[in-house]
């Protein structure tokens, strides 16, 4: 098992470097650079820009720049952000947490709502409740998150019950600890709901399908025949087997934990990674873009690995050599 994990990680390292190389060439070779826009500013002298360019080794050949960056990687330095003028790692660190709590909240909400709904629908198969849930999840699947965000923001603007954007109120610092949590939760409500809506629909459908398939299995007949109470048959014998395939999905959803919220962050003005990425890409902040790509690459790897490991842990039939 450990050998398998090590092998998987080792395979990905060259992949990440190649990806970084492509990103680098891509950002550098296309028209415009970060300092081009500063050059247009008459208030900034040519010397200042030259100074900064030599500071970040931008006057060296591209190959040297890239090698510099790679060597620094092994010292866990990801380069400087031109836009923020501080190390990339510090820029990202601040945003990482914001995105993380938003995504985690929406993930908890998704699983907390979708699983019970899916189970309920499967147990009432083809009855009114099932039809209703299927209809609603169809609507969930087809509603783009940004459309729902606009509708909810309008609702918030008319009622004043929820904040219209951002992550904290102006008086955040004066609040008590509990008040701070409440404030954060209120700010999170709209983006988290919009983020979950699609996954609630799809996860509910998968859960229902799995449950229906498990309910048809013969071992449930055996369980009933030997006189187990119905609750035990369903919630212990059937449920465990129905949830098993979902573990892979849980692993995969970890891999999009930091990037899935990007669009909503931008619409809602949530100070997270997605918002940062928009700034970085637009201002051609090369190293910030590269670091973000690397990080989501690592997360993708970890999510997939997590899915495989969890599956092997829960299903004794699966073995990795």
């Amino acid at each position: 098992m450990i050998g398998y994990i090590v092998k998987r990680v080792l395979v990905v390292i060259p992949l990440l470097l190649v990806m970084a190389l492509f990103t680098f060439i891509f950002m550098q070779k296309t028209a415009g650079s970060f300092y081009d826009s500063l050059r247009m500013d008459p208030l900034i002298s040519e010397q200042t820009i030259d100074y900064y360019e030599s500071l970040y080794h931008l006057d060296r050949p591209l190959s040297v720049q890239f090698l510099h960056w790679v060597v620094n990687l092994f010292r866990l330095e990801f380069g400087y952000s031109f836009y923020f003028n501080i190390p990339v790692i510090q820029v990202i660190k601040g945003r990482l947490w914001n995105t993380f709590i938003l995504s985690l909240t929406s993930m908890i909400m998704t699983w907390g709502v979708a699983l019970p709904l899916g189970i309920w629908a499967a147990l009432r198969h083809n009855r009114f409740v099932d039809r209703m849930i299927q209809f609603i999840s169809y609507i969930c699947l087809s509603t783009p998150s940004f459309l729902l965000a606009i509708l909810l923001l309008y609702f918030a603007s008319q009622t004043g019950w929820l904040p219209m954007g951002g992550m904290r109120s102006a008086h955040y610092e004066e609040l008590s600890l509990l008040g701070k949590w409440w404030d954060l939760l209120r700010h999170m409500a709209i983006p988290a709901v919009c983020l979950s809506i699609y996954s609630i629909g799809s996860l509910q459908r998968i859960m229902r399908g799995n449950m229906l398939e498990t309910l048809r299995q013969q071992y449930l007949l055996t369980a009933r025949a030997k006189g187990l109470p119905e609750n035990r048959v369903i919630y212990v014998h059937a449920l465990r087997n129905a949830i098993n395939p979902l573990i892979t999905i849980l692993g995969y959803s970890f891999s999009s934990l930091l990037s899935g919220a990007a669009l909503l962050e931008i619409i809602y003005g949530w100070p997270g990674l997605g918002n940062l990425m928009l700034t970085a890409v637009r201002s051609k902040d090369v190293y910030l873009v590269m670091a973000s790509f690397m990080m989501s690459g690592v997360l993708f790897l970890m999510g997939n690995l997590l899915a495989d490991i969890l599956l092997a842990k829960c299903d004794p039939r699966i073995r990795y050599e």
Binding site: L15, V18, P144, L147, Y198, R205, Y252, V281, V289, S296
Partner: protein
């Protein structure tokens, strides 16, 4: 259920293709005196309750005490609806010339079926024109990315070994970067001086570029098992070329999966394009796409005074829903065990 989806899509695509003929105005026909003018209903009865040929009343504008525009129906002006009204000449998709539109009213009357936008352009017309971008970006993008995905997946699965290894590593590289980040990054390198057609093409290419990897992996998995079948071995023994075997004997067997996957992934193209345009990175004004039109609703407060600017959102919803319904129906028909595709937005 699926026939409802078919009808909706049929209507939307017809509307988009013949937008020049069906819409009363061109997408860039603006009249700033009618900024956010409310819908002008078509009437068949006049003030005294007499039946008449359909007509619309004129509209007058005044400012209220907050200097907001208030539109009032002016019952003294009547503009009868004209069928096959003559307007400035156009060409449907640059091919079929014409100068008549299905219906409209004579100037100075304005026909706003679904209200006007900030510059007094007819929203109904703009939604029809916008459908051209939003609906066809999905079709074209999907056909590009599926061609790439099928070929790469087919080659990787058929040859296996080192080729498979290299191609799959490339796939993984594309899948490692989150779609939306890649979208932003690629969009940022499109030169700003591109005209609208070039922007449209580049967005299609970008979207296709992002979408192919996932499919290639699935097709590769299917091909790995298909290549061991007897009929493939027979074709090989008969001396057919590798390319012919992949194209004729292997890929057709993945067809039912591919068609379902196509249907279920078109919505993600529509949504990605809308998201991009919504952020102002996609199709630029004066050209219309549903995302671009919806971006007017981003200034939330305006919704209260002109709720009809949410209509493009309804159309995105309808088309996504229709593709989902049809895709699901096809999947149930071919194989009830397929899993729903994942989407990143």
């Amino acid at each position: 259920m699926s026939w409802v989806g078919m009808v909706i899509l049929g209507l939307l695509y017809t509307g988009a293709i013949f937008a020049d003929f069906i819409s009363p105005y061109s997408y860039r026909d603006e009249n700033r005196d009618y900024s956010y003018c409310p819908p002008t209903p078509i009437r068949v009865k006049d003030r005294d309750g007499r039946w008449q040929w359909p007509f619309v009343y004129g509209v007058t504008m005044r400012f209220d005490q907050y200097y907001r525009r208030v539109y009032e129906i002016d019952e003294t002006q009547k503009y009868p609806l004209k069928i096959f009204i003559r307007t400035e000449p156009y060409k449907i998709f640059g091919l079929i010339p014409g100068s008549r539109r299905l219906f409209g009213v004579e100037d100075p009357g304005r026909l706003y079926l679904w209200g006007a936008d900030a510059r007094g352009r007819d929203l109904f017309s703009r939604i029809l024109y916008g459908g051209r971008v939003s609906l066809f970006i999905g079709l074209i993008g999907v056909s590009i990315s599926f061609t790439i995905g099928l070929i790469i997946g087919g080659i990787a699965g058929y040859f296996g070994g080192r080729i498979d290894n290299i191609l799959m590593r490339i796939c993984e590289m594309f899948m490692m970067v989150p779609g939306f980040y890649l979208l932003l990054a690629l969009r940022a390198v499109v030169p700003p001086d591109f005209n609208s057609v070039q922007v449209f093409v580049s967005i299609v290419v970008i979207l296709a570029f992002i979408g192919w990897a996932g499919l290639a992996r699935v097709i590769r998995g299917m091909c790995l098992s298909l290549r061991e079948r007897e009929y493939v071995l027979a074709a090989k023994a008969m001396g057919q070329s590798d390319l012919a075997i992949i194209l004729k004997h292997i890929l057709p067997h993945t067809l039912s999966y591919s068609v379902v996957a196509i249907m279920l992934s078109i919505p993600s193209y529509i949504i990605m394009e809308s998201a991009l345009s919504l952020l102002g990175l996609g199709i630029q004004d004066p050209f219309a796409s549903w995302g671009n039109l919806l971006s007017e609703a981003m200034g939330i407060v305006q919704i209260k005074f002109a709720p009809w600017i949410l209509l493009p959102g309804l159309f995105i919803f309808l088309s996504v829903m229709a593709f989902n319904v049809i895709g699901d129906a096809l999947r149930d028909y071919w194989d009830p065990r397929f899993k729903t595709g994942q989407r990143n937005l």
